[in-house]
Symmetry: C2
Subunit: 413 residues, 2 copies
């Protein structure tokens, strides 16, 4: 999974949100704080098995929304419909169908996605174009529309709860853990849910992530902050270099908790996103370790990110990490793959595993053994100083294990 969100779509809410400013109190002692004014619906359509495969979050009032989607040329109907709705509607709901990606399903797949948003919108008494849609699971198979219609007909919005952990669970495919993070900023709450690299049948990984907050954030500010945060977090995540056709990220802000300091909102949102990214990387297919690669001393941040991505994506680095092997030669090779970056002089480069420099300083065999012991843990950090300038970047990934092969090869169509 290589995430590469590049386009932001946004709309201006029909109603001014400031009327809700500061109007709601939130219990700060709540272990699972909820953003005010958001409701959740979770259930089982019966697409694959009896686990939840339908998740819907909606705001009872209009929202500001910002969204970013997969750049894959084969992006599916869900991504196309969500892009359209962000451009032309006023989204305040998102519906996620899991166990079926609805990708490469032709005109009928597109019609099904539109029908889905219309039916959900009808139940919520909002326009179809006010509903975003995401879908994850097997490719090339159509939704079982009779089941979908029957399920939505039976939906009772009156029964909606505030169960974001349930939303995160319903989005899972073969994720081994659900990904749900929340934090507080001023009087407001930020909740983030995500699903990471999963396979239910031969299929590609899909990354979906949604954020909900009752903070009041004006549209241009939300766009700017969301783009910046996603670029520094989800766009720095790579499980296996493969960009999904279905990647989607969006944030909904309904303003019900009033204004919050902008810098603090950005910092908290960044923290929530980082936590979700780490949960996804650690739960990467077959992964046994979270791999964090930090590059500093680059000519600029773009160079730092390019080098860090080359390292975190190198199969030889990933297998060395899997084997708890402080094999700095492979890290050097991966840096050197950035052939266009001729201002990188190998003689000025420094490589460390955790806090232990391994190049150019050479460790003794005893020190290497100690380092290997540390690398047997669930978190490995590679730190690189390019000795060129002040650019820096951090990216996240995971090790490459035989289990990755088993998951992706041994289940066949």
């Amino acid at each position: 999974m290589r995430i590469n969100f590049q386009r932001t779509y946004a709309i201006v809410p029909r109603r001014q949100l400031s009327s809700n400013s500061g109007a709601y109190n939130v219990d700060l002692n709540d272990k699972h704080p909820q953003p005010v004014g958001f409701k959740t619906l979770v259930g089982n359509i019966g697409i694959k098995d009896a686990t939840d495969d339908f998740a819907c979050v909606y705001s009872t009032v209009p929202c500001t929304v910002s969204g970013m989607f997969s750049q894959n040329l084969f992006a599916g109907p869900s991504v196309k419909v969500s892009r359209l709705h962000l451009a032309e509607g006023h989204p305040r709901a998102v519906v996620v169908v899991s166990k079926n990606a609805n990708v490469a399903t032709g005109e009928e797949g597109l019609a099904n996605a539109i029908e889905l948003t219309g039916r959900v919108g009808g139940k919520l008494q909002i326009d179809a174009k006010d509903v975003l849609v995401a879908s994850t699971g097997i490719i090339g198979r159509r939704y079982p529309m009779e089941k979908v219609r029957a399920f939505i007909d039976d939906l009772d919005p009156e029964s909606a709860g505030c169960d974001f952990a349930g939303i995160a669970r319903a989005m899972m495919t073969t994720d081994t853990v659900s990904k749900y993070v929340h934090t507080r900023v001023g009087n407001a709450t930020i909740v983030g849910v995500a699903k990471g690299v999963g396979m239910i049948e031969p299929n590609m990984a899909t990354m979906l992530t949604f954020f909900f907050t009752d903070a009041l954030v004006p549209q241009p500010t939300l766009d700017r902050i969301f783009r910046k945060v996603v670029n520094a977090t989800f766009n720095c995540l790579s499980i296996d270099t493969d960009t999904s056709t279905s990647d989607s990220a969006a944030i909904f802000a309904n303003g019900m908790a009033g204004e919050v300091p902008e810098a603090e909102f950005e910092a908290r949102l960044h923290e929530v996103a980082i936590e979700l990214v780490k949960k996804i990387a650690r739960d990467g297919e077959g992964a046994t370790k979270l791999l964090e690669v930090s590059v500093e001393g680059a000519r600029d941040d773009a160079q730092a990110k390019r080098v860090a991505k080359a390292v975190v994506n190198s199969p030889l680095v990933k297998t060395a990490i899997h084997g708890a092997d402080p094999n700095w030669g492979r890290v050097a090779m991966a840096i050197g793959k950035c052939e266009q970056d001729t201002d990188i002089n190998p003689e000025n480069v420094r490589i460390a595993f955790g806090d232990s420099e391994v190049y150019p300083k050479q460790l003794s065999v005893a020190d290497l053994d100690r380092l290997s012991e540390v690398m047997r843990g669930e978190y490995v950090r590679v730190a690189i100083d390019l000795g060129c300038g002040k650019g820096h970047a951090t990216v996240w990934g995971c090790d490459l294990s035989a289990e990755y092969i088993r998951i992706n090869a041994d289940y066949s169509t």
Copy 2:
């Protein structure tokens, strides 16, 4: 291993070669034809074990030479020295040390590489700068120079043979088969040897390939043909996207068999290179299958190669191939990763496994089962038509297996 040779270095021989034109007869019935005027020396320095780790081929007369080397920023002393010698010397010998890459070994490593060429040159009574050097094996460890000196002191050029198969064997690290191909063109012979992706201890793969011919080929022609052939063969090979620090390719033409038709020479050289590329891909670490990806209907050849590389390098495609799974959804995803190629319209794309179209035409379950049976073989071809134009390219790689992980993770430093 991602090969990316971009620079050609060449020299003009000191002597005119035309004096040898047509002067030698070669036995056309010889099962292993040899280019006239080349000698081989093979032996064991004792770097790792008792298998051959020293290979030297030299021409008894001056040659035209063309060479291309790794673009990795951490390219080792062997690559640096060979580049220098191609620029300043008149190479007619190449020496290969296996089981030690002599990479990231500092100033002393560079001095050792220079000393090696000097000592071998001394034995052959040619200048150090007339010797190319290549080295493959563990990174970050210096040559055992006492053993190297003792071995070369004992070398007897009078004992030199014509054993190119032995040269290919002596170049191996953890290659499971040696790579040696020969062909005839007019009265001349072309021999090619290569070593592919191998690991002896935690280390990175290295690709070395050398060609020897007694055809008379003028320097500019040899450069042009070699660059063209390498770009269409070795530069279309990817085992795991990791560019070695040591990749080296060179061709030596000593003219002793006289002139040959240029187009035929290029065609034969291309065939020899293709055979070596296929042998390397099939012997990729942990590989069980040779994967060939052909793209046609591209806007231009560059786009075709970019898309083909995205497919052949996709871990999800490679694992599907490993599982004999005709999972065209992953091929579509990999094509779609070429996000900049917005002229690719998914609706015009066609994907086939072998001769069986799988997208947009949908196969029945029975047909998919039959296709999976075919894919259990050792050769899988993915054919893609982008429906954009007339550009085309073919690239080679291999499947990704749990054995790749074992080889690269479970042996530790």
